[in-house]
């Protein structure tokens, strides 16, 4: 697709970016997220040690020149583990949200557009899933598929898509009554062409906002699953795993758990701040006001 400055989508995007950029908080948050993604990608090159390598003579080392963040109860380098741990938090959450969008968007679109019985059935399914606690489903899946990041990610995707489907359904419902949809019918377009060619391009902003807002909760849930032992399995270095392992030594060596905890809070907060600002920047009424400020 060529970049067309006159396209309303591109123009809106530029205005949105301008409004977004006016918030220092959001820009700092965005910077933090980019930094963590860079860390996640570069972990193998910037880590001083292998994250699972044990140094039996150096247990519970406090931060020192050899181990910048000290070592844990098996003498593993904390810095390396935390850097590698970013991979799980940053990428597994991205995967979960992507699956959520891929499943939830078409289901919500079809449900909202066709309505009737189909809508009824799909929405009752989402109701059932929404009333199902994610942790329980994850435990079940861990039991069936074996513990690991994949069953945890799958469980979160399965409980995550209904909220996306509901949002898309709502937007499609409000769009489908508009004249341009009737105009598309009158030139003889099929339902499929109308839904995906005409309506969906008008529904993208709420999807983007919801996806960004979801990232934070997914990171916490994934770490939570790792913490209780059904997500990432030790000795793999996930932040949730590191916190869980450090918990036993919390009084003597508090930095083991606290540092990954702080990092996680930082990332989640950054996602929420970016999401908040993005929502304001994409809101056509708020945007004008914010741009003028």
């Amino acid at each position: 697709m060529k970049f067309d400055k006159e396209s309303p989508r591109v123009r809106e995007l530029l205005l949105t970016l301008k409004v977004f950029g006016k918030s220092k908080m959001a820009m700092i948050s965005l910077g933090i997220l980019l930094l963590f993604f860079a860390i996640a990608i570069l972990a193998p090159w910037i880590s001083p040690y292998d994250p699972t390598e044990t140094h039996t003579s150096d247990l519970f080392m406090p931060p020192c020149p050899k181990y910048p963040l000290g070592t844990d109860h098996l003498g593993r380098d904390n810095l390396s583990r935390i850097l590698y741990g970013a991979r799980y938090s940053m990428f597994a959450s991205l995967l979960v949200v992507a699956v959520t969008v891929i499943i939830g968007m078409p289901i919500g679109a079809v449900s909202g557009y066709f309505g009737g019985k189909l809508d009824e059935i799909l929405m009752r399914i989402t109701d059932v899933i929404l009333s199902f606690p994610g942790i329980t489903l994850a435990l079940l899946l861990a039991y069936i598929m074996g513990r690991g990041i994949y069953s945890a990610a799958l469980a979160l995707s399965l409980v995550g898509w209904p909220s996306m489907a509901r949002i898309v359904r709502g937007v499609v419902l409000s769009e489908k009554g508009k004249d341009y949809v009737i105009a598309a019918r009158i030139i003889g377009k099929s339902d499929f062409q109308i839904l995906f060619g005409e309506i969906m391009p008008n529904c993208m902003y709420p999807v983007i906002i919801q996806a960004v807002m979801m990232m934070g909760t997914v990171i916490i849930s994934l770490a939570g699953l790792s913490f209780i032992g059904v997500g990432v399995q030790p000795p793999e270095p996930d932040w949730g795993v590191i916190i869980a392992e450090g918990r036993q030594y919390l009084l003597e060596y508090p930095w083991l758990s606290i540092l990954p905890g702080i990092l996680m809070i930082t990332v989640v907060l950054a996602y929420n701040l970016v999401g908040d600002r993005l929502r304001d920047a994409l809101d056509p009424r708020l945007r004008g006001e914010l741009a003028a400020k």
């Binding site: 006159e6 009737g116 009554g177 341009y180 030139i187 003889g188 005409e198």
Partner: protein, 332 residues
């Protein structure tokens, strides 16, 4: 009955209801209408009388809460209400076009003008993209749009209201329809643009021999553009005939009132209005729907609803006053 092959559209005894949470709304209550080939018919009436509902019924694009209870719609010799949705799509794709009141809402904001016209041409004529671009540019310049190539590269929000309506007309005409339904095509435009658009529609109709059903609330527009007029009131066509005949000699008290309000001829004295309001469409009286506002209503009007009576094969009126006259003195 006129010969069927001269008729492009006929609507008979059409009843449409809307199921709402406030009750069942009787939007159309036995509509009779006929549009001949190449003819232009104006459909007038006040807000909420069912004009747009009738327009959408013809192309079967009423929304889900609406239901066609009974009646018959025959388009080009085929019964519309018996068509499958696939056959209906075919009819819409090739033969009937619709223009809306608000061209801003009727154009998809995220697609370029050119793409929207090209798509319409591809749908109806199966042209290749390059051919459709060529053809689209031709149609736009025919509609008096300067620099049509440039316009096709623009997005709806970059154009003026009049320009957007021209684009809608271009899209509507791109399939060379047999019937064009224009639902208040100029209500959202200012007066000078309004005149241009109406002239455009008029000229095009004469040149292409398509039939036109022009929905409006403005008697002046009907006089300017149409050959025949159907006056609607509370979901019924209460008077139908040649514009000249109806305007010169309105038979139904409502038409008389409407013409007086419009004040097309003579000096303006003071703004007239028809007293009263339309009946509650959820709870219709058994008699004539206009009876409560009619200065001439009598006993029978309140008991029995009049249906359309043909006078001399050209005009029809739904009014007991006229029927009694017909009975006494014979038609005409």
């Amino acid at each position: 009955m006129k010969k069927l092959d001269n008729i492009i559209l006929s609507v008979e005894d059409l009843h449409v209801i809307f199921k709402t949470y406030l009750g069942t709304v009787h939007a159309l209550n036995g509509v009779y209408l006929e549009v001949g080939k190449g003819e232009s018919v104006g459909l007038v009436g006040e807000t909420g009388c069912g004009k747009s509902t009738l327009g959408l019924s013809i192309v079967r694009l009423l929304d889900e809460s609406a239901k066609i209870v009974r009646g018959k719609i025959v388009f080009n010799g085929e019964s519309i209400l018996e068509k499958s949705s696939e056959e209906m799509r075919e009819i819409r794709r090739k033969y009937i076009s619709l223009i809306f009141q608000d061209p801003t809402a009727a154009l998809n904001p995220v697609h370029k003008i050119g793409d929207q016209i090209v798509e319409a041409l591809q749908m109806s004529k199966g042209l290749k993209r390059a051919e459709a671009l060529e053809e689209g540019a031709k149609i736009l310049s025919m509609l008096g749009i300067p620099d049509s190539r440039k316009v096709m590269e623009q997005y709806p929000h970059e154009l003026s209201g009049g320009m957007r309506q021209r684009i809608m007309i271009a899209i509507a005409l791109s399939k060379n329809p047999l019937l064009l339904i224009a639902d208040e095509p100029t209500s959202n435009l200012d007066v000078t643009i309004q005149a241009q658009i109406l002239e455009l529609i008029s000229d095009l109709r004469k040149n292409t021999q398509m039939s036109l059903l022009l929905i409006t609330h403005d008697m002046g527009i009907v006089a300017q553009v149409c050959e025949k007029v159907a006056v609607m009131y509370a979901g019924q066509v209460i008077e139908f005939g040649k514009v000249r005949d109806v305007f010169k000699n309105p038979l139904h008290p409502y038409t008389q009132g409407l013409l007086k309000v419009a004040n097309l001829v003579g000096e303006k004295t003071r703004l007239e209005s028809i007293p009263g309001t339309i009946p509650d469409l959820r709870n219709l009286p058994p008699g004539c729907l206009f009876a409560s506002r009619c200065p001439y209503s009598f006993d029978k009007c309140l008991r029995i609803r009049p249906s359309n009576i043909m006078l001399d094969g050209k005009r029809s009126v739904a009014c007991w006053l006229v029927e009694d006259k017909v009975n006494k003195f014979g038609p005409g």
